[in-house]
């Protein structure tokens, strides 16, 4: 095995092009577990922590560009206001020690159906920026997850950043686990209001082979809100609308029974999470609209 420590992104990309078998390592919170337990013995590790540009973020023209290597703790501290949904998800990851090292880039690299950032990336309409010696391309979050722990990266590509809307619109993330800290999600749900587009984003985690958008639920709710003129004059939502939204989210899942929960439980729990997070987000939206008026 070799340990490769590029100092710049171009250097890292040329290494990855020459050595597609080299495994990138950022926070190491997924990679090291596999190495410690001998589940993986890659030909080389490609350490990304020496590359300054991956650990930076910037905000411009209504978009936050979050470097793939920004640890969760910094995301929570520095971007809690600009990326509320992602910060909420980051707060539920592991423990302080894990959040001090773990990154959104690593969550995407691992592409676990249970990864906490995925529902938020899907709901907010985030895009994933990936680079190789051939150039840079941008992948919509919904095109990124291809299967259980499989993503759209080519063997010579690295994730460089994630782009998310820099918005004041309410976002929510909610996760079911058997305790408050250090649990992998039994199921999870992300919600984002996009008032300027008259649209709602919603996505599930841990309830299908990949994280995925809840399209039917999104379309239903976006239609209801727009048809009733609720974006402009946000009245309280009718209970039947919230319920239907929850049902459609549950219908859009394909959960399995496993040690953490049954499929039926996951479906039910997601309908509840959907309804509740919608209630919270809408309440926040109404409060915001009132204070503007």
């Amino acid at each position: 095995m070799e340990f490769l420590r590029p100092a710049t992104l171009p250097e890292a990309l040329s290494v990855k092009a020459e050595r597609p078998g080299a495994v990138p390592i950022a926070g190491g919170t997924d990679v090291m577990v596999e190495l410690n337990f001998d589940h993986r013995r890659p030909e080389a590790l490609l350490d990304l922590t020496g590359i300054a540009e991956l650990a930076e973020w910037s905000a411009e023209d209504g978009t936050v560009r979050l470097g793939a290597g920004v640890p969760y703790t910094r995301l929570i501290e520095q971007l809690g206001k600009r990326l509320p949904g992602l910060a909420m998800a980051a707060r539920t990851v592991g423990s302080p020690q894990i959040r001090n090292r773990g990154t959104v880039g690593g969550n995407l690299g691992a592409a676990s159906p249970a990864g906490d950032t995925h529902p938020v990336l899907l709901a907010t309409g985030a895009t994933i920026e990936v680079a190789s010696v051939r150039g840079t391309r941008t992948i919509a979050a919904e095109d990124f997850y291809l299967g259980v722990k499989r993503n759209a990266l080519e063997p010579d590509e690295l994730i460089t950043a994630v782009n998310l809307p820099d918005t004041k619109a309410p976002q929510q993330f909610s996760k079911i686990g058997t305790r408050n800290a250090m649990v992998i999600a039994v199921c999870s749900f992300g919600l984002a209001l996009h008032p300027e587009q008259g649209r709602v984003g919603a996505a599930i985690g841990s309830a299908a082979p990949t994280p995925r958008r809840s399209r039917a639920a999104e379309d239903f709710l976006s239609g209801e809100l727009t048809d009733a003129g609720l974006w402009e004059s946000p009245e309280p939502l009718r209970d039947s609308v919230c319920r239907r939204f929850g049902e459609l989210v549950a219908e859009g899942t394909e959960p399995i029974d496993d040690v953490r929960g049954s499929a039926a439980y996951r479906k039910h729990a997601l309908s509840v999470l959907a309804r509740r997070t919608l209630g919270w987000a809408w309440q926040e939206y109404r409060a915001g609209e009132r204070s503007c008026a």
Partner: protein, 156 residues
């Protein structure tokens, strides 16, 4: 490979390090610093917690090569000679140490918390220590120890 780093203020060098080795292994087996404990090797128990560039991390999840040129502070580096750090002394005084296996990790995590938040609430203590498992104490004494250390910090 060879790894150079600053450990507890001293320049240290480890040779013949396997590329997939963890920082924890280097500290314990190559540099003779057995304070950080190895219990799970998967980030679950926190008994290997050390500061890496002043940030508490699980040493079992840091690849040795990632510590090259960086600064590591272990539980051994908290005491001032024979004088225990106030957090360590409070663990002893509050009876928060039984078998002691979890103690080094908890002490580092608590030390970091009190550095950032000198007077933490119970919730803040619980959240800060959520990544550290103890099989003996039932955690109450550990909470007492952190609160005692906070009071002593305020007195100091």
């Amino acid at each position: 490979m060879r790894v150079n780093m600053t450990v507890n203020g001293e320049q240290r060098q480890a040779d013949d390090v396997w590329e997939g080795e963890s920082l924890l292994y280097v500290l314990r087996e190559r540099l003779g610093l057995p304070g950080s404990k190895n219990a799970c090797e998967q980030g679950e128990c926190g008994s290997c917690t050390v500061y890496l560039d002043a940030v508490p991390v699980c040493a079992c999840l840091v690849a040795a090569g990632q510590a090259q040129g960086r600064e590591v502070r272990t539980v051994e580096g908290l005491a001032d000679g024979d004088r225990l750090d106030p957090v360590q002394q409070s663990f002893v005084d509050a009876g928060a140490v039984q078998c002691g296996f979890c103690t080094p990790g908890l002490v580092v995590a608590a030390h970091d918390l009190l550095d950032r938040v000198p007077e933490p609430s119970d919730e803040e203590i619980r959240e800060a220590l959520a990544g550290n498992l103890c099989r003996c104490t039932g955690y109450e004494k550990i909470l007492d120890a952190v609160k005692l250390a906070a009071t002593r910090g305020a007195d100091a």
